[in-house]
Every structure is written in structure tokens, then in C-alpha cells.
């Protein structure tokens, strides 16, 4: 098997483009912009604004209590494996009755593995409503794969598997970049590389509203970090006074931008410089982009998404038509105390995703912004007493008016700890790869089919480069017209 061939192809394409960029001497230039440099074939920026928002759930979400089997037969299997008694729950199984309000029934009917019916976690009523509305779709059992793999191939090592499965940091990196920790670029950043051409201000292509992560690092595209309260300005530079002295304040600016010889120092000065250069610009743009949507209080993810909504509202001032964002929340590594903690996390997620969707409706871009979840890994179906352990595949959500929602995508796994779609304790062997997931989203954003391997390096080994859960905004608009 020729692992890495696609990477080589995309690398050559990249070198061509970066040669053109270098000739312009303007890589990542805020002042000059990068509009239209040799990217026409690689990326389509037709049809107005579009953005992707990655919601990363750090710690490895327990997919087993996020989408729960509801039909009696499959619920019975679930409860037995998770230590529950009949339909009353117990162990780490949720009571069946608690799920009645969040059952997901696809409008046109949809037959899944073992005729399973799923309910969302009881603390996710808003996503249940978005599913019913047709703008949210669950993607079942998705995870990193290098190539399609059966349990037999896993056992006899005849197909390469992603390195360092079940390790937090490495699987975070693998989800974000296709490679374990140490990876140089993530697929958000690689989309950013292609999308920069669509933006006047390339710097605002990849926006990070959470901690540093590889997802938004491209070969040229750099993540611009913004806090939940907008850009943080250097106070002495904003006021023009350091302990009362204007001279000292301007000396501070000089010093922040200076470095002498050391490579680490030079990079720090560059980040200082970027922060100084863009901070006021971003805050002015945000100040002129009011959003009425309520994002609540005390919800860190919602606060990040509020900033993202602000950046989207300010897209014209910022000079962007294609953007990739990242936000995150932590706390999902529930080896202990799963019941009692996980539902609260999902409640926050449910509120934050819904608030953000409402904001995109308010801004008139609901069909132009697609939000999707990702996480380190899924978890074991079996219990360690009051929690679950590290797994592999898991279930995820895609949300937006361009999502062909209200139904499931991917293949439902058996509710089992001994079938061939798991590798022990119900750790799911993914049946849909992260590459298929990312390629589908990338295509929607405008990445041309020939460039998909640069986003999703393993995509050539999978049958689908488009899982079908996305539709173009024009199609959405036409469908909406037909309905009225």
C-alpha cells in the first residue's frame, strides 16, 4: 500500500503555490492581502461568505451517553453493558425514560444497524429540535483511519493503523492534523492556506478562539488568536502612557518588537508585533458588529462562540469571505463520575451550539456557516465502575442551514463489546474516517476535488470524498423557495 503518495502530490502542489507566493514577497501579508494569487484552480470562493467552525471536545467525549440506543432491544444491550438494571439505568447507563423527550426520528424514516433508534442525551433538547428542523446531522462512528479497516485486519496488522491510538494528545493531533503530536499543519490551517486567496486580509482566515492547537496551522496560514472578550490590547500602548510616561510607552513598543539573534526571541517578537498590529483593528471591527443573540453567562464555549459570531458579523470590515474557526471545551475525560458530569457538559454544549446557530440566523448567514464537533476519541462502551476509558471512533454533530440534517450519516455500530466493529470493551473501530469528514466539509467550503488530498491526505483510500451531509447554500435557498 502506498501510504503517503497523496501527501507527496499535495506537497508538490503546495510548493508550486508557495513559489508563487514567495515571488510576490507577500506571504501572510496583512497590508497587501493575497487576493487571487494562483489559487483559482485550487479553491473556489464563488457565492459569497462561508465559514467552518470546529468545536473540539477535549478529553474524549463519551459518545455512548451522547447518542443513546432507545429502542427496547438495543437499549437493553446498552444498559447491560453499562451496568444498568432493566430500564432504570444505574452503573453508567442513563434511565430509558429520561430519553423519551430527545429521541431522534428521521423524517423520511431511516433504517440503521439492528434497527437501532437513537436518543440524544436528555440534556441536549436544543440539538434535538435542530435535528427535527433539518439543520443538524449526527455522523456515526467517525474516527482516524489511514485506510478502511476490518477487525481482522486490525488484529493481524495487515492494514496500517493510526499511530498511538487511545492516547489523548496524539489522537487530538491526529483528529486535527492526520498525524500524532509533532505534526506541522492541521486540516483547518491547510484549508486556510487555500482560502487565503479569497480574503483581502489573509491574517483573518484562520481564527482561534481557544488555546493553541495544530488544527488551524497551515503552511502559510497562521491562526490569529482572539479571547472571549475580543482582542487583548497592550494597555500602555492603548493609553500611550507607561506609568505616566509617553516616552516609556513608545519605548515599550520598540522593545516588544525587538529581538537580537536568538530564534525563540525573534518568534516571540513576531507574535508581539502581530498582537500590536491587529488588536485595535479587530476590536474596532467587533465594536461595529452588534449581535443581539443571547449567549448566556458562565458558559465558556458560548463565550468563545460569541466572539466567533462577532468576527463573522465583522467579516466585511475584516476583509474576509472564507474563514475557519476553532473553539473548544474541556472536561470530557470522565474515567470517574461520568453520570453527573457528562450531562452537564453536554447541556453547555447544547446551549452554546444552539446560541451560535441562532446568531448565524440573526446575521443572515445560517446557510454559510457550518459548525462541527471533534474530540480526542470516543470511549469504551463498557464501564470501569463509574466512568469509561479511552476509545477510538465516536459520534459527532454537524450543524448549519447548509447541512442536510434530520437524518444520520455513517454506519451505526452494534451495541456490543464483542462484534467486529469494535476492538475490545466497545472501543469502536471507525467506519467513517476523519478524512471523509474533513473532505466533505472542505469541498463545501470551496476546496477543489484535486486539492482534497492536501486537506485529507488519506482520502484516496476511501470510497467517499463526500459523505453527502453538506449542500451548497444555493441549493438550500432553492429548496426553501420550493417549500414556500
Amino acid at each position: 500500500m502506498h501510504i503517503g503518495k497523496e501527501l507527496e502530490i499535495s506537497r508538490r502542489a503546495f510548493l508550486q503555490r508557495s513559489g508563487q507566493l514567495a515571488a510576490m514577497g507577500a506571504a501572510s501579508s496583512y497590508a497587501l492581502g493575497l487576493a487571487g494569487i494562483g489559487e483559482a484552480a485550487a479553491f473556489s470562493s464563488d457565492g459569497g461568505y462561508k465559514a467552518l467552525v470546529c468545536v473540539f471536545l477535549y478529553g474524549g467525549n463519551d459518545h455512548g451517553n451522547t447518542l443513546i440506543p432507545f429502542d427496547p432491544a438495543n437499549y437493553g444491550r446498552y444498559a447491560a453493558i453499562r451496568g444498568g438494571i432493566n430500564e432504570e439505568g444505574g452503573g453508567i447507563a442513563l434511565p430509558r425514560a429520561s430519553l423519551a423527550g430527545t429521541v431522534l426520528l428521521p423524517a423520511g424514516g431511516q433504517t440503521l444497524t439492528d434497527d437501532i433508534t437513537y436518543a440524544l442525551a436528555p440534556s441536549m433538547p436544543r440539538m434535538k429540535a435542530r435535528f427535527d428542523q433539518g439543520v443538524m446531522a449526527p455522523l456515526l462512528n467517525v474516527g482516524p483511519l489511514i485506510a478502511p479497516m476490518t477487525r481482522a485486519q486490525y488484529d493481524n496488522n495487515s492494514v496500517p493503523r493510526p499511530p498511538k491510538l487511545f492516547s489523548h494528545n496524539d489522537q487530538q493531533s491526529t483528529w486535527q492534523s492526520s498525524q500524532p503530536e509533532g505534526s506541522q499543519t492541521g486540516w483547518g490551517g491547510r484549508m486556510g492556506d487555500l482560502a487565503q486567496s479569497a480574503n483581502t486580509n489573509a491574517m483573518f482566515t484562520a481564527i482561534n478562539a481557544t488555546g493553541n492547537a495544530v488544527f488551524l496551522s497551515g503552511r502559510q496560514a497562521l491562526p490569529y488568536q482572539v479571547s472571549p472578550s475580543g482582542a487583548i490590547l497592550f494597555r500602555p500602548l492603548r493609553t500611550g502612557r507607561l506609568f505616566g510616561s509617553g516616552t516609556a510607552a513608545s519605548a515599550l513598543e520598540t522593545i516588544l518588537k525587538s529581538a537580537s539573534g536568538n530564534i525563540l526571541a525573534a518568534d516571540h517578537a513576531t507574535i508581539n508585533d502581530r498582537s500590536i498590529k491587529f488588536g485595535s483593528f479587530v476590536n474596532n471591527a467587533l465594536a461595529n458588529a452588534a449581535i443581539a443573540t443571547d449567549f448566556g453567562t458562565g458558559n465558556g464555549l458560548a463565550a468563545q462562540l460569541r466572539t466567533v459570531a462577532g468576527m463573522i458579523a465583522a467579516r466585511r470590515s475584516l476583509g474576509v469571505t472564507r474563514q475557519v474557526f476553532m473553539v473548544s471545551m474541556g472536561g470530557y475525560d470522565n474515567h470517574d463520575g461520568l453520570i453527573g458530569r457528562h450531562d452537564g457538559l453536554l447541556a453547555q454544549l447544547d446551549f452554546a451550539l444552539d446560541a451560535f446557530y441562532r446568531a448565524t440566523v440573526e446575521l443572515g448567514v445560517a446557510d454559510r456557516v457550518t459548525t462541527f464537533t471533534a474530540s480526542d476519541f470516543g470511549r469504551t462502551l463498557s464501564s470501569n465502575g463509574d466512568g469509561s476509558d479511552h476509545g477510538w471512533g465516536g459520534h459527532h454533530f454537524v450543524l448549519g442551514a447548509s447541512v442536510a440534517g434530520g437524518r444520520f450519516y455513517g454506519r451505526a455500530p452494534h451495541v456490543s463489546v464483542d462484534t467486529p466493529d469494535q476492538v475490545g470493551r466497545g472501543r469502536l473501530l471507525p467506519t467513517t474516517s476523519v478524512d471523509e469528514y474533513s473532505a466533505t466539509l472542505a469541498k463545501w467550503l470551496g476546496v477543489s476535488p484535486s486539492e482534497l488530498p492536501s486537506i485529507a491526505p488519506n482520502i484516496g483510500r476511501f470510497a467517499n470524498s463526500d459523505l453527502g451531509f453538506m449542500q451548497q447554500p444555493e441549493t438550500v435557498a432553492a429548496a426553501a423557495k420550493r417549500m414556500t
Binding site: G83, G91, P163, K164, L165, F166, S167, H168, E181, Q184, G189, N212, V214, S217, G218, R219, Q220, L222, Q225, V226, P228, A231, I232, L233, R235, P236, L242, F243, G244, S245, G246, T247, A248, A251, L252, I255, L256, S258, A259, S260, G261, N262, I263, L264, A265, D267, H268, I271, N272, S275, D336, S382, S383, N384, G385, G387, D389, H390, G424, R425
Partner: protein
């Protein structure tokens, strides 16, 4: 005997080995030479332990303050440890160890979490120059770690319910606390097979070792119950259980029972077979002996400790020399942490003054170390005596890092991190601390400094600095900058930055006869400008 040739060389050594430099310590190091000074300073006893702090401040008592419920005293304790008191080398290494054996105050959801993490800190401190093997056993059984990585309450498999042992500690003790993911050469470079790194363990090893960490719970055998002062209908357990090593003896649990929950079946991992029927303490002994004997431990640990203390990019030879000392301290003992600490600091690569000008040498000072250095250099005092400083974790409005408050067991930053699109990346270098550097945190840091150099920020109101040595120099900008350059950067400010700072602080009108307030304004500006400079931020 090797002695520093200049004050700058001595200060550079002090800033690698401890938290700050003073004129007195610089003179001592110059007089004694590096190794004798280190030997002497390492022998200093711990003057106040965390447990002693809690007792002296009354924070381990059950009273209306409800100190048992919350994290506040945990933050105050660690700041008091870092900002005050002697035995700074031991504390410096303990802090580095806390970034390898990570426990986080924000994620220990039990009563008495302050004293629990205090005990964890005392374990690190007590063993900082002791034995790696003793240290890893003590942290394994510590209640804070037990809660953080779920050994507490972990039970053997139960076929009736399908329950199996929790894998969390078993996985992380291998991945993070001992051997790491790849097989390593003695110099820390990865061993390869057909160009590919070789993984050290499989998931079967994880499920195997997980059985070792079953059957443990808090030891309540000497824990008293007190009436809850705010609710007489309840009682509150005293602090002891949160400090004592967890026990697999069920007669000592809060609900004593005859039967324990330690796995009785055979335990098999990394080539070790612990026979069926082996009890908890014997299983633990065999498992930890086996892990610590693994050839990876020395290079895996040595490399990260070098990164914390000296440079982000040590040469393989440097790692190899320190790892060799880990393997054998010269007297046939493996895992002598004091010997490792000395080997790191006395190594030619750490000491070579030529490396100050090597563009790839050094490390970004961690934000919490910058703050500790500021406080210790300028005579910090706590009005209450408690060092009432809370979490400084917020990068937008605080320092962006707080001790014992890593966001996860993977520390604040990963040893292999490098920033994307940087010169660091194009030069194939690593810069772990850059994982907490971005547009937000760099501005947040300077804003933090503005409120810290005079301790004027509301969240630092318990602290004050005296600047006793600086006030007499304040009227002379050049001398003031000379002085600060030595103590804060070991004379590593570049000429243009020195000139810029000297010129800028000249804009404050200060004479010898000026008020202290006027002099302090100039001093505050000078300190801030030095500490904002990239010459300072990268410790070389």
C-alpha cells in the same frame, strides 16, 4: 574547581538553578565555584512544608471558614512556597517535577483539596533530590493523584456487571510519568525499525497494568469527624485522609469492610508477569520496580528536566550524559534525582557561556517563573502572611499560568511543541513554552506586569515589593539598568534594548532627593521594560 568568571555568569547559573539572583548569592557562587555552591545549597532543609503552612495558618481546621471546601488555600499555599522561604533549589526542581508528574488543583473534586495538593507538593519537595523510585510510589498513592487520575475507588473486574479496571492511571504512568510512547536510545533519540519509531506498549499492556492500581481508597483510619459548623446535622471529616497514602486495606476505609477490591488475577504488562493472588502492595512494588528499570526512563525524564531548567533543544549528547547519571549516580544507584539535578546544571552545555550567543539555545521563561522571579528579586512580602494570591491562569486578564493548575495531565505545554509558521519550526527546533504564547497572552502578560511591578493589581493586593536595593540607584538610569540587567537577565540585555530602556526611564524626572514615589515610578517602568523584552523572556 570551576568558578564563574563574571557576575553575569554567576547570575546565569542562579537563574537556571533557582528562581532569582541576588547580589549576595552571586558573590557566593563566584567565591565557592559552581559545584561546591550547588552541593551546599542543595543540602538546605525545607524550612516550611505545605503541611506546616496549613497548620500555621489554621487552614486545616474545621471551622466556620469551611477551608475544607474549595481551592483557595491550595493556591495560597503554592504561592507562599514559591514566593517565600529558603531551599530554593529544591523548590525549583520540585516545580519542574510538578510539570512532569502533573496534578491539577482545578480537577480534584474532594474535601480538603488544598491540603491534598499540599501533600502532593511536599512529596515532590521531599523527594526532589531523593529517589525516583520512592517518588513515583508516593505520588501513586497520594490522594490528590488518586482522585486526579482515578486510582481512588478503582476496583477489580466484575464479570457480573461487566465492570473492568479503570485504565487512566495505568496509561498515564507509562505515557507521561516513566517510559513514554517510543523506545529511546540512551541519548533520548527515538529507536527506529525500518525508519519508524517503535511503540513502547500496546493497549493490552494498559489493561494489564491497570489491574495493579485496583483496590485503593482513602485511608480514614486516623481521621476524625467534626461537627459541620454551618450545619450541625452533618459532620465533616478531618484533613488526615487527604494526606495519608491511599490504602488497599478495606478495614481502613470510610466504610470499613472485610473484602478489598484488588485484582486477584494474573497481571501482565511490558513483559512482566505478576502471578495471580499477589496482593496490592506487592503488585505495586513489582510493577513500579519494572517500570523504573525500563531503559527509557532516564532519557525520557532527563530530556524534559533539561528543557524545564536550561534549554528547549538539548543536544543528544547532553541528554545522554544526564541519562547516564540517572542510570548510575556513580555509586551504583539508579534514579538519584539530586545527582540528575546536578548533572543538568553542571553540564558543559548548560555552563558554556558561548551558548548565550547561540541562536538555538535557551528556553522561553514560563510566565509563573517570571512572576516568582519578580517577587523574590524585589523582596516580596505578604501583608496577611498567607500569600493570598489566587489562580493566575487566565491569559487575557492575568498571567496565563498558575502553579499546580495545569489544564490537563499533559502539562501547560508539551515537550515536543513548536509554533506553526515560525522560525523555530523552520529551524527544526522545539519551544514547549510557546504553547501558551499567542496574540492574547503576550498582551495579557504586559498588562499583568503593569499591575505586578508595584503589586497594584487588586488580585495582588496582599503582596508588596520593597525595591530596597533599587531606590538608591533610581536617580541614575544607567546604573539602575545595569543592576536590573544583572539580576533579571544575567546581563543578557542587548545593547540597543539597554539604550532604549535607559533613554525611556530618563523621561521620569528623578533626582537623588526625589520622593520614593517618584523613584518607584521610574523603577517600575524600568523593571517592566526589562521583563517585557525578548532578551529577558528567552533565558539563555
Amino acid at each position: 574547581m570551576l568558578k564563574p568568571q563574571t557576575d553575569g555568569e554567576a547570575a546565569r547559573f542562579l537563574l537556571q538553578a533557582s528562581f532569582s539572583a541576588s547580589s549576595g548569592a552571586i558573590a557566593e557562587v563566584r567565591n565557592d565555584g559552581f559545584a561546591p555552591w550547588l552541593d551546599r545549597a542543595m543540602r538546605q532543609a525545607n524550612d516550611v512544608s505545605a503541611a506546616g503552612y496549613f497548620e500555621a495558618r489554621g487552614f486545616d481546621r474545621v471551622d466556620a471558614n469551611r477551608f475544607y471546601n474549595g481551592t483557595t488555600t491550595g493556591d495560597w499555599m503554592i504561592w507562599s512556597q514559591l514566593l517565600s522561604g529558603g531551599n530554593v533549589l529544591r523548590k525549583r526542581f520540585a516545580l519542574a517535577l510538578s510539570e512532569f508528574f502533573v496534578v491539577s488543583l482545578g480537577d480534584i473534586d474532594i474535601s480538603w483539596r488544598g491540603p491534598a495538593i499540599g501533600e502532593y507538593w511536599d512529596i515532590l519537595n521531599r523527594n526532589a533530590f531523593g529517589s525516583f523510585r520512592t517518588l513515583i510510589e508516593e505520588i501513586t498513592l497520594n490522594p490528590a493523584m488518586g482522585v486526579y487520575l482515578n486510582t481512588r475507588g478503582n476496583r477489580r473486574a466484575d464479570p457480573r456487571t461487566g465492570r473492568v479496571p479503570d485504565e487512566n492511571y495505568g496509561r498515564e504512568i507509562m505515557q507521561l510519568f516513566s517510559i513514554g510512547l517510543f523506545e529511546l536510545n540512551p541519548d533520548g533519540t527515538p529507536r527506529t525499525n525500518g525508519g519508524e519509531p517503535i511503540e513502547t506498549y500496546t493497549n493490552d499492556d494498559v489493561t494489564g497494568i491497570a489491574k495493579v492500581f485496583t483496590g485503593y481508597d482513602f485511608n480514614y483510619s486516623q481521621t476524625q469527624a467534626f461537627p459541620d459548623p454551618t450545619n450541625p446535622a452533618r459532620t465533616v471529616a478531618g484533613v488526615d485522609f487527604a494526606r495519608r497514602p491511599m490504602t488497599a486495606d478495606p478495614s481502613k476505609w470510610s466504610r470499613p469492610s472485610a473484602d478489598g477490591f484488588h485484582a486477584q488475577e494474573e497481571k501482565r504488562f511490558l513483559g512482566l508477569v505478576i502471578p495471580a493472588g499477589t496482593n496490592a502492595s506487592e503488585s505495586l512494588r513489582l510493577a513500579l520496580d519494572h517500570l523504573v528499570a525500563h531503559p527509557n526512563v532516564g532519557p525520557f525524564f532527563a530530556r524534559q528536566m533539561i528543557q524545564r531548567l536550561v534549554t528547549s533543544n538539548p543536544s543528544p549528547a547532553y541528554v545522554g550524559r544526564v541519562a547516564a547519571v540517572f542510570a548510575n549516580n556513580g555509586q551504583g544507584r539508579r534514579g538519584d534525582l539530586g545527582a540528575v539535578f546536578k548533572a543538568i546544571l553542571l553540564d558543559e552545555e548548560a555552563r558554556a557561556m558561548a551558548n548565550v550567543a547561540n541562536p538555538a539555545f535557551g528556553k522561553l521563561r514560563e510566565p509563573m517563573l517570571r512572576f516568582v522571579q519578580l517577587a523574590r528579586t524585589f523582596g516580596v512580602r505578604s501583608a496577611s502572611g498567607n500569600f493570598e494570591v489566587g489562580s493566575l491562569s487566565d491569559p487575557a486578564n492575568r498571567l496565563g499560568q498558575s502553579p499546580l493548575r495545569s489544564p490537563s495531565v499533559f502539562n501547560f505545554f508539551r515537550p515536543g511543541y513548536f509554533p506553526a509558521g515560525s522560525q523555530i519550526a523552520t529551524n527544526n527546533l522545539l519551544a514547549p513554552e510557546f504553547q501558551v504564547v499567542n496574540e492574547t497572552s503576550v498582551a495579557g502578560y504586559v498588562n499583568f506586569l503593569e499591575g505586578a511591578v508595584g503589586m497594584s493589581a487588586s488580585y495582588l493586593r496582599d503582596l508588596s515589593l520593597d525595591y530596597a536595593a533599587e531606590l538608591p540607584l533610581a536617580h541614575d538610569p544607567a546604573r539602575l539598568v545595569d543592576h536590573l540587567d544583572l539580576l533579571l537577565t544575567a546581563n543578557q540585555l542587548s545593547a540597543p534594548v539597554r539604550e532604549t530602556i535607559t533613554g525611556a526611564i530618563g523621561s521620569f524626572a528623578v533626582q537623588q532627593t526625589s520622593s520614593d514615589a517618584d523613584k518607584l515610578r521610574r523603577i517600575h517602568a524600568a523593571v517592566l521594560l526589562v521583563m517585557a523584552s525578548t532578551d529577558y523572556l528567552v533565558q539563555k
